[in-house]
């Protein structure tokens, strides 16, 4: 497929792209109905590419993870382009990243998991041995508790990727942690699990043991294949609903203890300073949240007419029960349709058909989870926590639609 053709397609699409984000992506999709000459372009005239061993996306697809440039890139992050997402699964290659010491290269044949501390039978397991245990596959989001950190400030994220892209959703496969804990025999004095990774910072976090009994997975699979290196290859903890950092990647050691480690990431970081100067610690649960991904910041409506408003909602406490959308800056709210089947502690796609009459407005969404908790306004969070609570911002996000159809942060 020549450059000639892709050039032509993207040129033509610029007239009509329904929601243009400046990429050739929309162009490629619309070109067939749009080009005016043949209904399907030149693809019908020549044979295409033969089968291949490991697939790649179309060269017309340009959506990528983006991060900010930092002095120490190994302690950096990238965000998922949520504005381009379909359905509820994040492609593994677009799952957000947050590393504290870079992505280690680990040979699975060399990797070991040590389970020790307050257990009857300390264990060392190889990857092959781990895969002989009973396994589960579940769809869960993972969200960095620093996601939407910029949304505390008046100058807010211009796109859904910037404001909410440190959340992603995958199907994870692995051994239930409870199976491994029972195999090792947890002693009654044990109250905490300390998980540690095999990266250069030996990332470690403490998790109350009662949370480990629920649905934590020691995972080796992501979206049908081995976990990606950036996501913890060959082994990670998936602790559904808990802040991203707890989902320790490259996990090599699980220690049972009677106290938490009080490591740097549960004291200096991931704690929130409240108005009186006290800081809240062990805020593990990611609370109910949602964001409209289309139309969202950086996109443009082609003109008045039909628009499907769609977005993602999630809660660390379980199922999303309801998502309401307002197209008049919060004056009135309408229930969006939730994509079924819904999964606990997973992205839930919502959709609402709407006709835009061409007048400037503000659109927003708010999610309610199965506990009845309703996603609050950012102002309500600031009211409760003060202005310097760094992490755990699950406030409502609004987008402004201008008369020319362009969408920006409200």
């Amino acid at each position: 497929m020549g450059d000639e053709e892709s050039g032509r397609n993207s040129g033509e699409s610029s007239r009509r792209t329904f929601l243009s984000i400046g990429a050739a992506v929309g162009g490629a999709l619309l070109a067939c109905s749009d080009s005016g000459d043949t209904p399907a372009g030149d693809s019908v005239k020549r044979t295409g590419k033969p089968p291949d061993e490991y697939g790649e996306r179309s060269p017309f697809e340009k959506s990528v993870r983006k991060g900010s440039v930092s002095r120490y890139p190994e302690a950096g992050s990238t965000r998922t382009p949520l504005q381009d997402s379909h359905g509820i699964i994040t492609p593994s290659s677009l799952h957000f990243e947050r590393h504290h010491a870079g992505v280690p290269l680990i040979d699975p044949a060399e990797h070991r998991l040590l389970i020790h501390g307050l257990v009857e039978r300390p264990l060392i397991l190889t990857m092959d041995e781990l895969k002989t245990f009973p396994s589960v596959s579940r769809i869960h989001f993972i969200e960095c508790s620093g996601n939407s950190r910029g949304e505390w400030k008046p100058k807010k994220g211009a796109t859904a990727q910037i404001s909410h892209g440190m959340a992603s959703c995958s199907e994870w496969t692995g051994v239930p942690l409870s199976v491994l804990l029972d195999e090792a025999g947890v002693k009654p004095e044990a109250a905490w699990l300390i998980a540690e990774g095999a990266d250069a910072c030996k990332m470690h976090r403490s998790l109350p043991l009662e949370k480990c009994r629920d649905d934590v997975i020691v995972a080796y699979g992501q979206n049908g294949e081995a976990i990606r290196p950036e996501q913890g290859y060959p082994l990670r903890l998936v602790a559904p609903g808990h802040e991203g950092n707890i989902n320790v990647k490259w996990v090599r050691r699980l220690m049972l203890a009677d106290q938490p480690a009080m490591g740097r990431e549960e004291t200096s970081k991931y704690t929130d300073v409240l108005a009186d100067g006290k800081a809240r610690q062990f805020s593990l649960t990611m609370e109910s949240k949602s964001v409209i991904t289309r139309p969202s910041g950086g996109q443009k409506l082609p003109g008045p007419g039909f628009v499907e408003i769609t977005g993602l909602a999630w809660s660390g406490r379980g199922l999303i029960e309801r998502v309401e959308v307002s197209t008049d800056n919060g004056a009135t709210w309408t229930d969006a349709t939730l994509q079924e089947p819904r999964h606990r502690i997973a992205f839930t796609r919502f959709r609402l058909p709407w006709t835009w009459d061409g007048t400037p407005t503000v659109i927003l969404s708010r999610a309610t989870d199965e506990t009845g908790y309703v996603q609050p306004a950012v102002e309500a969070l600031v009211e409760a926590r003060g202005p310097n609570s760094d992490y755990h911002n699950n406030g409502i996000k609004s987008w402004k639609i201008a008369a020319d159809g362009s969408v920006t942060h409200a």
Partner: protein, 175 residues
Amino acid sequence: MFVLAGLLVGAGAAQSPTYKVGRAPTADEVKAWSITIFPDGTGLPEGSGTAAEGKEVYARRCSECHGTTGQGGESSALVGGQGSLASAKPLKTVGSYWPYATTLWDYVNRTMPFHNPGILTDDQVYSVVAYVLHLNEIVGENEEMNRQTLPKVKMPNRDGFINDDRPDVGPKSEK
């Protein structure tokens, strides 16, 4: 359904291993892997150091990123900010924010220097930890830090944390 299956298998297996997979680690293996230092000092190795000794370690191994005085470097400030937490601009450092001195030992030993963690000896970790604490005016220049003394160091923000009490907004917070 999956959840249930997992829990049932788990419950039945509480006393003896079900799958007989894996092997027991040797005592040396466990020792080599166990780097967690707890607030009560559990895990701290033998060895010691003072701020006076740590000054040189810091200058050689840390100051390029954290600044010669623990401030003004390209990476996180390690010094300052005491009394700032309730202000409009809290400065969170080892001195103003960290509740336990043991966390500093654990973190420096496991993670620093950033590009080559693990190069410091236990004595060097004790001394550079003493130096960072001294820069924050928490310990004296010649006060020896070791596995007995370090856990007893009272950090200024030791009592500055509360456990998660959310939800803190909306109908659920009014219960």
